[in-house]
Amino acid sequence: MFGLFGYQVSWSQLAWFGHRASGLGVLLYLFMHVVETSTVLFGPEVYDAAVGIFKNLPARLGEIVLMAALVYHALNGLRVIAMDFWPGLTVYYRPLTYGVIAATIVAMVPLSILMITPFAPWNPV
């Protein structure tokens, strides 16, 4: 539990909110991604220009957020599925929720470093 805007928010409430927010965010990206990929029908010049929009630091930071959203949504979704089909696991819902949050952070450390490297300010290529 921690205080937020005068409310006591539990980590499991945050996990629930995070699942919705990450899901809607990934869905919004998906709609854009279909359009972006469709430009491949217009040939190499148009497609390379379209994907070129995403080859810079701000876009890469956005893609890292996308990766984090997807990793979190996947892990938290697995937790929900596990608890739905094995109700006995509900006893451990708190450590499992903390585990999902921790695993997301742990996974995002190497992924963020790898993904930011080509466009990082310290790596001008």
Partner: protein, 151 residues
Amino acid sequence: MTVPARASARTIYRRNPSRAARPRPEEPGRDRFWWYFMRISGLVLVLMALGHMFIMHVLVQLRGEEINFAFVTSRWGTPFWRIYDAVLLLLAMTHGVNGARIVIGDYVANRTARSLLILLLVIVTALWILLGLLVVVFFNPDTAPSVGPFS
């Protein structure tokens, strides 16, 4: 002041086992179908969507490749990746939009507004899935124009 009786752990499980999502609808029907669909498609998407991200953001970078027209041409040169992308598109779109439908159901109290919003969402999704499938199935590098319409 009466103190509410504390529900036993067993009743809580039955009401909402995950304490994170919806309990399974008691009656068989459309709601229960979507309840199972979200969980089964979710399991498949954990592998397929994370696999897609792993290929595009980890493998591509480790191999020093670049995502461009030539990359798509070689990737979609094998039917496997066309089928993979078509299935991923269908599952991700359906899973995502059904999730959005449930969120709309939670926040839009007006029945007419809710129905219209969901109808709009379904129409837009159908168009997007159609566009995506057409691209995945009919993309042909030989007939694609080499010069864009804006040059």
